[in-house]
C-alpha cells in the first residue's frame, strides 16, 4: 500500500479577521423549506474545540446559536481548518490522512512538514517599491505549537517591528481526532502605520477640522518608517482627472487611490488629492505547503491557499455573482454541457435568481437608481449611475423610471420570478441579462439589463459569468416537459452531486468538489461561495489579480490589459503596450478547427439625444477620444482558457506605448503580433490556483489599504449582500420602502443618504478606531441582536 498523492482540502480557505479570542463556531446556511423567499437559516454546525495548551481537538459540540460578535463587541474570527487527504495506490478517491494511515506507511505525524507563507503587498502595489512588501513565513515545522505569522518589510522601523498576520497551528492528532489538519487563525483586524510625531499628527488633524476623532496609530502598531515613501505617498491629481496634458505615467490602481488619505476624503470629492496616511492592515494571502516522506517512498507534496479577509457581515445571504461562480467557470468552462440534466440546470438557474433577490433587498433601489433623495442632487450620492456620469463626463441619468424604483417592489418582483421558476416555468428573461461584452452599453436599454445598479470588476455595469448566463439560456430552452424534481441548491451541497458523472466530466467534477470542499468544523463563511466575485477590487480577494500572468512571458496590469513587466527579455519591447486582441484555433466538432478571436477593450456608448431608444453615440471625451474601456478578464478570457490552456495563442498589442493613452482594436492600424502560451489556471489536477499566476500577497494586493477604508468608500453597488446599503427595511404607509442606511450610526428608520461629511454616518476614522463596533452584522435583513448602534 502506497500513498500516491496528497491534497490540501479545501485548496482555498478564507479566514476572516476579528479580535475575539475564540474563533467563530461552525455554521452553515440553508433555505427554510416553508419560507422559500425568506432569509437563509443559520444552522449551527459541529464545532471543533482546540486545546490551547496542547493543540489537540479536545471536544466538539453544536452551539445552540451562532455568536458573531461577543458581548464585549469583538468579532469572532473565522479560523478555517485545512485538512490533509491522501490517495492510496490506484484508488480514484482521496481519503483523510490519519495517524493510522501514516503508521501503515511507516510514518508518524511529525513526518508531516508544513510551511506557510503569506504576504501583504497592498502598499507595494501603490508605491511600486518591492521594499514595501510585507512577508511572513513560518519556515518548516512539524510540531503543534502555534506558529505566528509575523509580517515584516524592509521599510519597517526595525526587524522587530512586524505586522501580526495571525498564526497557524498543526493540530495535534489524537485518538478521537486522528486526522491530519492545520488551522489558520487570522489576525485581529488592526491598522498599522508610520510612527509620527505629535506635530505631524496635529497637522493631519488640522487638515480637516471636521474630523474630530482622527485615528492615531498606536505605538505597538507604528511599525513603518515614515521616510520610506508610503507616508504621504500620492499620485498627482491630474492622473485621476485624466488630464490629457499630463505626461508622466503612474501605475495607479482601479479604482484610484484605494488607501486611507489625509483628510479630507474621499479624494474624488476633494480635487482628487489623495495623500496617504501611510496605513497598512493585517489582511494577507498566501500558501500552505506540506510535505511527507513515507518510509521508503518519495517525498510527496501538496499546497493550498489561505486568505485573511474582513468578516462576512451578512451571513445569511449570498451575492449574485460569487467567487465560486468565477471559479466554477474556470473549472467547467463558460458553456453548459448539453449532458447536464435539465433538472440540475433548472436548480442552478433558480439559485441565481434567488441570489439576485438576496442582493436586491440590501440595495436602496430608489437611491441606487439615481433618484434625488429629499431633493438632494443624486450626483452627490455614491451610486452606479453617478459613477457612470463621472466616468464618461456626462450628466447623470437615473437608470429606471424614477417612480418605479423601490426596494420592496423590485424585490417582490424578483421573488415572483423565483416563485414561477419553482413552479416549473422556464426562465423567460435570459435576453434581459447583460452580456459580458455589453457592460459599457450605457444606453437606457443597456443599463437596464440584469443585474442592474451594480458595478463589475471593470468599473462598468456588472454582468454575470458566461456560465451563469448560459445556465439561464439552457434552462430557458429546455424541453417543455422535464422530469419532476425538487432540487434546491444549498451552499453545502457537494457540487459534484450535481454534475454528470460521465468520463469527460469526471476531472472537473473532482476539482469542483475539492474547491467547494466542506472541511470538518469550518463555517460556510470560509468558502468561496460566500466571497463576492467580479468586483473592483473586491473584499476577500481582488480576483482581477489572478489573470495578470495568464500569458506566459508578460505581466499585465490587473484592469486594463497594459503590459507592466515581462518575464523574459525577449518580450521587453511589449512593456507599456496594450494587449488588444487574441486569436486562436479552437477545436471544432465538425473537424477543421475554427478561428476564434476576442478583443480586450470595448467602447462606452450612450443614448443618442436624437433618439434615445434606437440610436447610440460613443461616449468620448477629451481624455478618451474613442470612448475606450477595458473589460474584465474573468469573462473575457473564459473561452480562451477553456480552449487553449497550456497552448499558444496569437496576441496583438498596440504598436505604440499606451501608458498615457488608450486605444481599442482597429484592424487598419499596425500592431505587434506575438505567439504566447496560455498558462494553466490550476496546479496539476488539483483545485489550487497556480502559484505562478499569483504569488503570496498578490490576490489581495489590489484591495484597499487598510480594508476598513473600503467600507466607507465603496458603496453597496459593488457588493450589496456583503456590504449592505439598506437594512431594517419595511413598507411605509406611503407604500415606499423605508429603512436605515447600514452605515448610519443611529437607527431611525429614516435612510441617511451617503455623505462623506455627514456625522450621522460612520466615517473613515470611526472605522479606523472602532470598526468592530460600526460594522454591524445583519441577520434576516435587520441588525443582529445587540447591533442596533448608538
Amino acid at each position: 500500500m502506497t500513498i500516491r498523492e496528497l491534497r490540501i482540502l479545501p485548496p482555498f480557505a478564507i479566514g476572516r479577521l476579528g479580535s475575539a479570542d475564540r474563533p467563530l463556531d461552525n455554521f452553515s446556511i440553508t433555505s427554510e423549506q416553508n419560507q422559500p423567499l425568506g432569509y437563509r437559516r443559520i444552522v449551527p454546525g459541529e464545532t471543533l474545540h482546540v486545546d490551547e495548551a496542547t493543540g489537540e481537538i479536545n471536544g466538539r459540540s453544536v452551539p445552540a446559536s451562532i455568536e458573531f460578535k461577543t458581548a464585549e463587541g469583538r468579532i469572532r474570527p473565522v479560523a478555517p481548518f485545512i485538512e490533509l487527504w491522501a490517495r492510496i495506490d490506484d484508488a480514484a478517491d482521496f481519503v483523510p490522512l490519519t495517524t493510522d494511515l501514516l503508521a501503515k506507511h511507516g510514518a508518524k505525524p511529525s513526518d508531516v512538514v508544513w510551511n506557510v507563507t503569506v504576504a501583504n503587498r497592498k502598499v507595494e502595489r501603490r508605491t511600486g517599491h518591492a521594499g514595501d512588501r510585507v512577508d511572513a513565513t513560518t519556515g518548516t515545522f512539524s510540531d503543534h505549537a502555534p506558529r505566528t505569522l509575523d509580517g515584516h518589510s524592509p521599510h519597517f522601523l526595525s526587524r522587530t517591528h512586524t505586522i501580526d498576520f495571525g498564526s497557524v497551528r498543526y493540530i495535534k492528532p489524537n485518538a478521537a481526532h486522528p486526522e491530519i489538519r492545520l488551522r489558520f487563525m487570522p489576525a485581529k483586524g488592526l491598522i498599522y502605520g508610520p510612527k509620527l510625531t505629535e506635530q505631524e499628527i496635529e497637522e493631519m488633524r488640522e487638515a480637516d477640522p471636521s474630523v474630530t476623532n482622527l485615528f492615531v496609530v498606536p505605538e505597538k502598531q507604528a511599525v513603518y518608517d515614515k521616510t520610506k515613501g508610503w507616508w504621504k505617498f500620492s499620485i498627482p491629481p491630474e492622473v485621476r482627472n485624466a488630464d490629457p496634458y499630463f505626461t508622466t505615467f503612474y501605475n495607479e490602481t482601479q479604482p484610484p487611490a484605494l488607501f486611507a488619505i489625509i483628510p479630507p476624503g474621499p479624494c474624488w470629492l476633494n480635487d482628487n488629492v489623495a495623500v496617504s496616511r501611510g496605513y497598512l492592515d493585517d489582511a494577507c494571502d498566501g500558501t500552505v505547503e506540506v510535505s511527507l516522506t513515507p518510509k521508503g517512498g518519495k517525498t510527496l507534496k501538496a499546497v493550498g491557499r489561505i486568505v485573511a479577509a474582513p468578516p462576512a457581515l451578512v451571513p445569511d445571504s449570498l451575492f449574485v455573482r460569487t467567487l465560486a461562480d468565477d471559479l466554477d467557470q474556470v473549472i467547467f468552462g463558460p458553456a453548459i454541457s448539453p449532458d447536464e440534466p435539465d433538472e440540475v440546470t433548472r436548480a442552478r438557474a433558480e439559485d441565481i435568481v434567488r441570489r439576485a433577490f438576496e442582493t436586491v433587498r440590501f440595495l436602496n433601489v430608489a437611491v441606487m437608481n439615481g433618484n434625488p433623495v429629499n431633493g438632494r442632487d443624486p450626483l452627490d450620492i455614491d451610486t452606479m449611475p453617478a459613477e457612470e456620469a463621472f466616468d464618461v463626463y456626462r450628466p447623470m441619468r437615473p437608470i429606471f423610471a424614477p417612480h418605479s424604483a423601490d426596494t420592496l417592489a423590485i424585490m417582490a418582483l424578483h421573488q415572483r420570478v423565483y416563485s414561477a421558476m419553482r413552479a416549473g416555468a422556464a426562465p423567460w428573461f435570459p435576453s434581459l441579462l447583460r452580456k459580458p461584452q455589453e457592460v459599457a452599453d450605457f444606453t437606457d436599454g443597456g443599463r437596464r439589463k440584469m443585474p442592474a445598479l451594480m458595478c463589475g470588476a471593470d468599473g462598468n455595469y456588472l454582468a454575470l459569468t458566461h456560465r451563469q448566463i448560459r445556465t439561464m439560456y439552457k434552462a430557458a430552452g429546455r424541453p417543455l416537459d422535464i422530469p419532476d424534481s425538487d432540487i434546491t441548491l444549498e451552499p453545502d451541497v457537494d457540487p459534484s452531486r450535481l454534475i454528470p458523472r460521465n468520463a469527460s466530466a469526471a476531472h472537473p467534477a473532482r476539482r469542483a468538489a475539492e474547491m467547494h470542499f466542506v472541511a470538518q468544523g469550518n463555517p460556510v463563511s470560509s468558502r468561496p461561495v460566500t466571497s463576492i466575485g467580479n468586483c473592483t477590487p473586491g473584499l476577500e480577494v481582488d480576483f482581477r489579480a489572478v489573470w495578470r500572468r495568464v500569458f506566459e512571458g508578460i505581466v499585465l496590469r490587473e484592469y486594463d490589459n497594459l503590459v507592466m513587466e515581462v518575464e523574459h527579455t525577449k518580450y521587453k519591447h511589449l512593456v507599456g503596450h496594450r494587449l488588444l486582441k487574441v486569436e486562436y484555433d479552437r477545436p471544432s466538432v465538425r473537424g477543421a478547427p475554427e478561428r476564434k478571436s476576442f478583443v480586450t477593450m470595448t467602447t462606452q456608448i450612450g443614448p443618442n439625444p436624437y433618439d434615445t431608444a434606437t440610436q447610440s453615440v460613443v461616449l468620448s471625451f477629451q481624455a478618451s477620444p474613442n470612448g475606450i474601456a477595458p473589460m474584465e478578464w474573468s469573462n473575457m478570457l473564459a473561452f480562451m482558457l477553456h480552449d487553449r490552456a497550456g497552448e499558444t495563442v496569437t496576441c496583438f498589442f498596440s504598436a505604440d506605448d499606451e501608458q498615457l493613452g488608450m486605444t481599442g482594436w482597429d484592424e487598419t492600424e499596425q500592431h505587434i503580433e506575438m505567439e504566447l502560451q496560455v498558462r494553466q489556471f490550476f496546479e496539476g489536477d488539483t483545485g489550487v490556483i497556480s502559484r505562478t499566476l499569483a504569488q503570496p500577497g498578490e490576490l489581495t494586493q489590489g484591495l484597499c489599504s487598510p480594508w476598513q477604508n473600503d467600507y466607507r468608500e465603496c458603496s453597496c453597488y459593488y457588493w450589496a449582500s456583503a456590504r449592505p446599503d439598506f437594512i431594517n427595511v419595511e413598507a411605509a404607509p406611503s407604500g415606499r420602502s423605508v429603512g436605515d442606511n447600514w452605515l448610519q450610526k443611529e437607527r431611525t428608520g429614516e435612510y441617511v443618504p451617503d455623505d462623506y461629511a455627514d456625522s450621522r454616518l460612520v466615517l473613515y476614522d470611526d472605522l479606523f478606531n472602532e470598526w468592530e463596533k460600526w460594522l454591524r452584522f445583519a441577520i434576516e435583513g435587520k441588525d443582529a441582536a445587540g447591533e442596533a448602534g448608538e
Binding site: P36, G38, A401, R416, S419, R422, A423, S431, R478, P479
Partner: protein, 490 residues
C-alpha cells in the same frame, strides 16, 4: 355570445337623422386608402363612438392575448417531445406575440385616456364572438385548425409573395371567416382620429400624459436594442435579439395618436398600415411560419399534436353553470388551482385598471404606490404563468383520464375599482385571503390535494404563501397610511 356594443357597429340611421358627413382635407395618404366610416350611431357623439370602438379594440386585444397565452401553455406532452426544439421555439414565438398584444392593449388604454374615455380591461368570457373577428374567441390547445384561425385573422389584405399565397390557400382550406378581421376596427379608429371635424383638437387632453402607461414602466427590454454608433442609417437592422418589439406608446396629440395606432395595427392585424418592412416580423408572418412547419409534420403523421390534452374553454365552477362550449374542470384539486388562477387574474386586471388613476408625478405618497402596483402587476403575470404551467399537468376530472385541465381566464364579476382607494386595497386583502384559503387547503397533508400535482406544485405554493404574506403587510401599511387600518382589522 354577442357583445353589448354589437348593435352600434352597423347602425341603421333613422329617418330624421342623416349620417354625419366626413371631413375632408385632413386625411393622410394612408387614411385616404381606408374604407369610409359607416354611419354614426344616433345614441352617440363621435367622441363617444370612438371611445366605444377603442373599448372594442381593447377587448379584442385582450381576447387575442389570452387565446395566444392559452395556446402557448397548452404545448407539451409526447408530441412536443418528439420535436422538442421546434415546439419550444413555437411556444416562445406565441408568447412573444401575446406580449405584443399586451402592448397593444396598454397603448389603446393610453389613447382612451387621451380622449377622456375610461380605461377598459373588460371582455366577455370564453367562448364569445365579435363583429370584428372572423371566428369565435375560444381557449383551445394549439392545433393546425387553431393556427389557421390565427393566421387568417392576422392576414394582410394584399399578399404577394408566393409563400404567403400558398399559406393563404392552405389556411382557406381549413377555415373561412365570414366577418372582418381585427384590422378593420383599427381602420375605423384611425379614420376617426384623423378627422379633425369629427374629433376636434379639444378632444385630446395632453394632461392625460402623466397617467398613461410608459415604455419605461412596461417595456422590460422587449424591443430592439439601440443601433451601434455610426450606424449609416436607422434602417440598418437593429439588434433584434429578443425578436420582439412591445409597443407602449404615450401620446399627447392627434399626430402621436395616429402614429401609435398605425404602429399597433401594423404589427399584427393590419399589415397594410405598416410603416416599414424593416420592422420585426408581423404576427401574420410568425404564425404563418408555425403553420407551415406544423403542416409539414402533419403531412407525415396525421395524428401528431404538439399539445397536451387540455380542454376548450376550461370552466372553474359547477358544471351546470358552464356555458355552451365551455368544459368544466371536475377534479376538485384542479378546480382549486383553477380558482387560484382566476383570483390572481382578477388581481392583475384590477391593478391594471386602477394603476391608470395614479399619475406618475403625483406626490410620493401615491406615485410610489404606482411603483408597488407595477411590480405586483408583473408579479401577477408571473403567477399566472406559474399556475397555468401546473394546471396543464393536472387532471381535468378523473385522475386516470388523460384529459388535463387548463387555465380558465374567467373574468371577475366586475373590474370597477371600489372607491375610495382604501377599499381597493381592502379588496386585495380579500383576494389574498381567498388565495391563502386555497393554498392552505392544497398544502394540507390531511387532504392529499397534491397527489396528482408535480413536486413543482408544492414548491410554488410555499413560495406564493411567503410572497403573499409580504404583500399583505405592504397593503396593511398602506391602509395605515390612509388612516383606514382600523376598519380593515375590524
Amino acid at each position: 355570445m354577442t357583445g353589448r356594443s354589437d348593435r352600434h357597429i352597423e347602425p341603421t340611421p333613422s329617418a330624421v337623422l342623416t349620417p354625419t358627413p366626413l371631413a375632408s382635407g385632413t386625411k393622410s395618404i394612408e387614411e385616404a386608402k381606408l374604407p369610409a366610416l359607416p354611419p354614426k350611431p344616433e345614441e352617440m357623439s363621435w367622441r363617444d363612438y370612438l371611445i366605444m370602438l377603442l373599448h372594442i379594440a381593447a377587448e379584442l386585444e385582450h381576447g387575442l392575448m389570452v387565446e395566444y397565452l392559452y395556446a402557448a401553455y397548452s404545448l407539451g406532452g409526447a408530441g412536443a417531445a418528439e420535436h422538442s426544439g421546434m415546439v419550444t421555439e413555437w411556444r416562445d414565438v406565441i408568447l412573444t406575440v401575446a406580449r405584443e398584444e399586451m402592448g397593444h392593449l396598454v397603448t389603446v388604454q393610453n389613447l382612451l385616456l387621451l380622449i377622456g374615455g375610461p380605461v377598459s380591461f373588460e371582455r366577455q368570457d370564453f367562448p364569445w364572438s365579435s363583429p370584428f373577428y372572423p371566428f369565435d374567441f375560444k381557449l383551445e390547445p394549439l392545433s393546425l385548425e387553431s393556427l389557421a384561425c390565427y393566421v387568417y385573422a392576422e392576414m394582410p389584405k394584399d399578399l404577394t409573395r408566393p409563400v404567403d399565397l400558398k399559406t393563404q390557400h392552405d389556411v382557406n382550406e381549413l377555415v373561412t371567416g365570414d366577418k372582418p378581421t381585427v384590422g378593420e376596427i383599427y381602420d375605423r379608429i384611425i379614420r376617426l382620429v384623423g378627422d379633425r371635424k369629427l374629433i376636434p383638437d379639444s378632444t385630446f387632453d395632453p394632461e392625460s400624459y402623466r397617467y398613461q402607461a410608459t415604455w419605461d414602466e412596461w417595456g422590460r427590454g422587449y424591443r430592439p436594442g439601440a443601433h451601434k454608433p455610426y450606424a449609416k442609417s436607422v434602417d440598418t437592422p437593429a439588434p433584434y435579439e429578443r425578436k420582439t418589439r412591445v409597443i407602449v406608446t404615450q401620446m399627447a396629440t392627434r399626430t402621436e395618436a395616429l402614429a401609435a395606432l398605425r404602429d399597433v395595427a401594423g404589427q399584427g392585424e393590419a399589415e397594410h398600415v405598416r410603416a416599414t418592412d424593416k420592422m420585426e416580423d408581423s404576427h401574420f408572418d410568425r404564425f404563418a411560419k408555425i403553420f407551415r412547419s406544423y403542416k409539414r409534420i402533419r403531412s407525415k403523421d396525421a395524428k401528431w399534436s404538439p399539445s397536451r390534452p387540455v380542454p376548450e374553454n376550461p370552466f372553474a365552477g359547477e358544471a351546470r353553470y358552464a356555458p355552451d362550449g365551455a368544459t368544466a374542470i371536475t377534479s376538485k384539486a384542479s378546480m382549486a388551482w383553477a380558482s387560484l388562477f382566476n383570483i390572481r387574474y382578477r388581481m392583475l386586471l384590477s391593478m391594471l385598471t386602477y394603476m391608470y388613476r395614479i399619475p406618475r408625478d403625483a406626490p410620493e405618497s401615491s406615485h410610489l404606490r404606482r411603483a408597488g402596483m407595477l411590480g405586483r402587476i408583473f408579479g401577477e403575470m408571473y403567477n399566472l404563468k406559474a399556475v397555468a404551467g401546473i394546471l396543464v399537468r393536472l387532471p381535468l376530472g378523473d385522475r386516470k383520464d388523460p384529459a388535463r385541465a387548463g387555465p380558465p381566464f374567467q373574468m371577475p364579476y366586475t373590474l370597477s375599482p371600489p372607491l375610495p382607494e382604501a377599499n381597493f386595497w381592502r379588496m386585495h386583502l380579500d383576494l389574498l385571503g381567498a388565495t391563502a384559503t386555497i393554498v392552505d387547503m392544497l398544502l394540507d397533508p390531511a387532504r392529499d390535494n397534491l397527489a396528482d400535482a408535480p413536486a413543482d406544485g408544492r414548491r410554488y405554493l410555499l413560495a406564493l404563501r411567503d410572497a403573499d404574506a409580504d404583500a399583505r403587510s405592504w397593503i396593511e401599511e398602506i391602509l395605515v397610511g390612509m388612516d383606514a387600518s382600523r376598519r380593515t382589522r375590524a
